[in-house]
Every structure is written in structure tokens, then in C-alpha cells.
Amino acid sequence: MKKQIILLAAVLLFSPIRVNAEPAAVTSEDLIDHAKELDGQTVVYSGEAVGSILHRDGYAWINLNDGSNAIGIFISEDMAGSIQNLGGYGRVGDQVEVTGTFHRACAEHGGDMDIHADSVRIVKKGFADPEQLNTDYLIWAVILALGAAGAAFIVHRKTSMM
């Protein structure tokens, strides 16, 4: 009997989805796969801020990508101020951790799956990661471009003589 209680406690302690008490740390896959169970719960989600901060009259949207999906987070204007770097080509955005209420189909936002953030924390600052110029590609590009120009010239001569 005692062993069963300890086993049950261990299972509850280590299961990823806990419906009450502390907010559960979730991934985007968890949110999508368990949307109905997590709807309305407080969750902790973290991901890279990508794209742009979309400002909306005192509030803003950010989209955090955790490697599988990007989830939309509705935050206040002050929280938006703390996010300096956004991910894109040649840039890694801030790794942001949000704690807030998850909505499967937000009534306020036209049914969007979102998290209304209560708090926002920058886990790791983003940085520029510019592409290294690939000289091989550039050389091939120039060679092929010259080839194409030459071919165009030859074909133009031949077809205009026909």
C-alpha cells in the first residue's frame, strides 16, 4: 500500500500537465495537443521572439517560437519594452519566458490560440548572427552569369539571322 502511494505521488509529481496549483511549464506541442485540458489554465511558456512586436493601443502581440511552433502572446506595452531583439534572417531573438493564461480559442481575439501574459522574463538576450559570405557561391554565380550572358548573345545572333 505504501509503495503504491509513493508511486502515485511520483507519477503526479513528474507528469508534465498539472491542472491546478503551480503553473505548468509547457511546450507549443503541449499547448496544441492538450489545448482543451489547458484552456484557461496558467502556463509557463518560453520561446524565441520572432518577427516584429505588433503594437496595439496599450498592448502588443509577440510570437514566441520554441522550435516546433510559434505561439502568439498578448502582452502589455511595458512588457513589450523589455524585448529588444527579434528573430529573423541573420538574427536570433530574445529567449522570452512568459507566465500567463492560455486560451484555446480566445474570446477576446477572434478565436486565436494565445497566452495572455501576466509576466514576461528575458531568459537570454538575442544577438546578430550574420551570414558568412560564401565565396564559393559568389564565384560560381559570376562564372554562370557570364556563361548565361554569352549564351544569350549567341542565341540572339543566331535567331535574328534566321
Binding site: 482543451k36 510570437n63 534572417y89 474570446a107 481575439h109 551570414e131 554565380a141 552569369a145 542565341v155 543566331k158
Partner: protein, 502 residues
């Protein structure tokens, strides 16, 4: 001597395919320029190299065939030009993707190219949120190009005396003659599309900037979303597709343009040249309105039964939006793919699958059975029932209105039924394959309907982890659906015959 004739038929085919390939190569300059302005120099090199290679291949094929270019192509040969161009075009257009590093394999690159050209919209690209502007420009450009058609694009560059190219035009899945000549028809199609490109880019940029994007990036997003909407493609610049913007304006704006994009080019031509009443008299408009209304009612009732959306705004922005996105075969999404499976329920999914299969108008950027065929079949059924109910021998001719009044002939009905049957067969094969790959029936059917109708909504099957045989099958299905079977089947028959001779 038959052998000589056979050889000489190859040359004009080679010439026209070469012409189309040349045009594709030149188009690669656009993403190259985009890359330069975005300081993406590796991407610039990639596009310049691929453009040059493609141009050289095209020029080579033109040289081989140019002595025979005045030979008139018959129906079979014209369709072969269309289908072969799409296949070779796919292989070449995939090269920039391959070198960009955004894809797991060359097969994945070909898949995304075919998805773009056929204006389907399902994607295998990795890490879309960190993709370069150059690659994003190419993605959206491919769908814009594919919507009109690469044959149509190539024809616009020919002078009017090439009157013998009508068969190529037909081989690409269009057969409406906006004007007596395939070249002028192609030019008209492009003029309409470019006019809307100008208007649509401005409108969508306004909506996107209003949603919170900065102006420079907003302009690119606005243009790309317009291109994707008008071509009923379904690509979007970010991984969340339209959900990224969290904005009603972007959703409504994109809806307006993808509804317009799903209309027949002949209808656009008529309305823009004064025949305004056509917009409500046309059989396709009437049919589409009826099927959309009925299927939406079914879907919405199904969604309500499952309490999927909390209020009417959510129902409109998700339920209705996704139904129109599916029915017009666009494929813009504002939910995550698996949400269809977890949340929508069987009734709503059934309605959406039907909507995807029914598709948009003929001679448009849309896919599916096409409203014209559905209208023809419905009218024919009505006529048959009428004949059975009225016992006397009075023969009443049925008419449909499509730009002008047309008598409903048996040949028209037969042709419509045959193509619908082929689409259904394709859908069945796609569904079966999905199930063999291990997916449940509803998912397999949904994804199959999406690729068969060149839609682009995904229920979660399409991903880089998908089995290779399914990727290849979907590529073939997208290609068949877009070109409406005939040209692909003729190509296969032609190759088969050549191999048997050898």
C-alpha cells in the same frame, strides 16, 4: 517516313519548353534583387547562379528546336509542353531552395516548388520564421506565377503571329478564350493580375501596417500576402501563416482578394470590359455562392455542436474564414494544423473536405472540381429529372449562362463528369496512401482533399518527417490536379510510346 516525322515533332516541343524555362530563369532575378536590397549576399549569389544556369538550359533547348518553331503543335504536343515544362521547371526552381539550407532534402525542395506552382500551399520548409527575404520572395513569386500559369507567362512574351500555341494554353488547365488568340488571351490574364497586384499590394500593406508591422517589412508582407491570396496559393511569410498577424483587417483583406482570385479570368475580363451584370448571372458565381452557403451552414452547425468557438466573432474569423479559404482552394490558415483534427469534429470537417474538393471557378488560379463543372452536372441532373417527370416527347434544351448563353450539350456534361471522376479517383488514392502511411481516416482524407484540390489547408500530415513515398505521391497529385489530368496523362503516354519504340 514515320520515324523522321517523330523526330521533327520533338524539336518544336523542345523549343517551347526551352522558352518557358528561359522565362523562369529570368524571373529568378527578382528574388536576387530582393536579396541584395536586404543585404543577403549569399542568397543573392545563389539566385544569380541558379538564374544563369536555368537561362542557359532554356537557351540550349531553344537553340535545339528553333528551326522547327513554326510547326503547329497538335493537342497532344501542346499538352506535353505544358506538363513537361512544369516538371522540368519544378526541378530547376528547386535549386535555389536546395542551396539556401532551409530544406531537409532536394525532394523537400521539389515538393515546396510544386506546392507553390500549383498554388496548393502545404509546406515542408524548415524554420520559416528565420528565412531570408530572397527565399520568401521566391516562394510567393512561384505561387503568383503558378496561379496564372508558366505557359501563360511565356506566351505573353510571344508576338501575336504565334497563333498555333493554343494547345499549350489548354494543356495548362485553362480553355477559356478571352480573345481569339492564345497570346492576347495570356496578355489579358497578366494585365488583370498585374492591375490587381498594384491595388492589392497597397491594400494589404495598409492592413498589415495597421496590424502593427513596420512599414518596410510591412510592404513585403503586404505584397506577398496579396500574391498568395490572388493566386489562391496559401503561402505566408511566417510559420503561423495568417495567425501571425492576429488581426481582423488582414483576415478580411486577404479574404476579399482570395475570393476574387478564385473567379474565372473570363469573368474578370467581361466585368472589367463593361459586362458588369455577369458578376451575378454567371453560372459559376451562382454555383459557388450556393455551395459555399450550404457547406458553411453545415460546418458552422457542426462547430456549434462541439462548442468550438466562444462567440460569433470567433466563428466568423475561424469557422467562416477557413471554409472560404478551403472552398476557394487558397489555404490560408489562422489555426494550427492539428486543431482541425482535435477540435473541429466530423461534421465540420466533412463540410470542409467537400468544399476543398468542389473548389473555385474554372480558368482561375483555384483548383478542385471547379464550379463550372458542378453547375453543369447539377443542371444536367435537373434536366434529366425533368425529362422523367414530364411524360410527353417535348425536348427541352437546357441552357447555362457563362459569359453568354450556352446550350447544355451531352458532350459538355460528359466532359464535366469525366474530370470530376478523375478528381475523385485521385482523392481516393491520396486518402488510401495516407492511411497506409499510418494516419487515421479523417486526417488522410483531409490532407488528400487538400492536395487534390490544390488547397493548402493542413491537418498535420504534411511535415518534413512525412514518408518519402507520400511526399512523391502528393507532388504527383498536386501536378495532376493543377493541370487537370489531360496534359500529364498525355506526357506519360508519349514517354511510354518512345520507350516502347526504343
Amino acid at each position: 517516313m514515320p520515324e523522321n516525322r517523330q523526330i521533327s515533332r520533338f524539336y518544336p516541343i523542345c523549343y517551347y519548353i526551352g522558352l518557358i524555362i528561359l522565362v523562369l530563369g529570368c524571373l529568378m532575378i527578382i528574388p536576387a534583387v530582393t536579396a541584395v536590397f536586404s543585404s543577403e549576399f549569399n542568397i543573392f549569389s545563389i539566385f544569380l547562379a541558379c538564374a544563369s544556369l536555368t537561362v542557359m538550359i532554356g537557351l540550349g533547348m531553344i537553340m535545339i528546336g528553333c528551326h522547327y518553331r513554326q510547326i503547329k503543335l497538335n493537342f497532344g504536343e501542346g499538352t506535353i509542353v505544358a506538363s513537361a515544362s512544369w516538371l522540368l521547371g519544378m526541378l530547376l526552381c528547386a535549386l535555389p531552395y536546395y542551396f539556401s539550407g532551409n530544406y531537409g532534402s532536394y525532394l523537400d525542395c521539389c515538393f515546396d516548388v510544386m506546392s507553390g506552382l500549383t498554388t496548393t500551399g502545404v509546406v515542408l520548409i524548415k524554420d520559416l520564421d528565420h528565412v531570408s527575404n530572397g527565399i520568401n520572395m521566391w516562394r510567393h513569386l512561384l505561387t503568383f506565377l503558378g496561379g496564372q500559369g508558366m505557359v501563360v507567362l511565356a506566351l505573353t512574351f510571344l508576338s501575336r503571329r504565334y497563333a498555333n500555341v493554343y494547345m499549350m494554353y489548354v494543356g495548362e488547365g485553362k480553355d477559356e478564350k478571352l480573345s481569339p488568340n492564345a497570346v492576347t488571351t495570356s496578355k489579358s490574364i497578366w494585365k488583370i493580375s498585374l492591375l490587381y497586384l498594384a491595388i492589392g499590394t497597397v491594400v494589404m500593406t495598409v492592413f498589415v501596417v495597421h496590424a502593427g508591422m513596420p512599414i518596410g517589412e510591412g510592404f513585403l508582407h503586404g505584397m506577398w500576402i496579396f500574391m498568395s491570396a490572388w493566386s489562391t496559393g496559401g503561402f505566408a511569410p511566417m510559420s503561423q501563416n495568417i495567425l501571425y498577424y492576429h488581426d481582423l483587417g488582414v483576415e478580411v483583406g486577404s479574404m476579399i482578394f482570395f475570393i476574387l482570385g478564385s473567379l474565372n479570368f473570363a469573368l474578370h475580363y467581361a466585368v472589367l470590359h463593361g459586362q458588369r451584370k455577369e458578376i451575378w448571372k454567371n453560372i459559376e458565381v451562382v454555383t459557388f455562392s450556393i455551395t459555399l452557403s450550404v457547406l458553411t451552414l453545415i460546418a458552422v452547425s457542426g462547430l456549434m455542436q462541439n462548442n468550438v468557438y466562444p462567440n460569433f466573432m470567433a466563428m466568423f474569423r475561424k469557422g467562416f474564414y477557413l471554409m472560404v479559404s478551403g472552398h476557394t482552394t487558397t489555404g490560408f490558415m489562422n489555426i494550427y494544423a492539428k486543431q482541425f483534427f482535435y477540435e473541429w469534429g466530423d461534421i465540420a470537417l466533412f463540410a470542409l473536405i467537400l468544399a476543398m474538393l468542389f473548389g473555385g471557378s474554372a480558368c482561375s488560379t483555384a483548383g478542385g472540381f471547379k464550379a463550372l463543372r458542378i453547375g453543369i452536372v447539377c443542371r444536367a441532373v435537373k434536366a434529366e429529372i425533368g425529362k422523367m417527370l414530364i411524360p410527353d416527347s417535348r425536348v427541352k434544351t437546357s441552357r447555362i449562362h457563362h459569359i453568354k448563353d450556352i446550350i447544355l450539350s451531352d458532350a459538355m456534361v460528359k466532359s464535366a463528369c469525366l474530370i470530376i471522376a478523375l478528381y475523385l479517383l485521385t482523392f481516393a488514392v491520396g486518402t488510401l496512401a495516407g492511411m497506409y502511411a499510418g494516419y487515421p481516416y479523417m486526417m488522410a482524407a483531409f490532407e488528400s482533399a487538400s492536395v487534390t484540390g490544390n488547397v493548402g489547408l493542413s491537418i498535420g500530415i504534411t511535415s518534413p518527417a512525412m514518408p518519402a513515398f507520400l511526399k512523391i505521391l502528393y507532388i504527383v497529385i498536386m501536378w495532376l490536379g493543377r493541370l487537370e489530368f489531360m496534359s500529364v496523362l498525355t506526357l506519360i503516354a508519349y514517354v511510354f510510346r518512345k520507350v516502347r519504340r526504343a
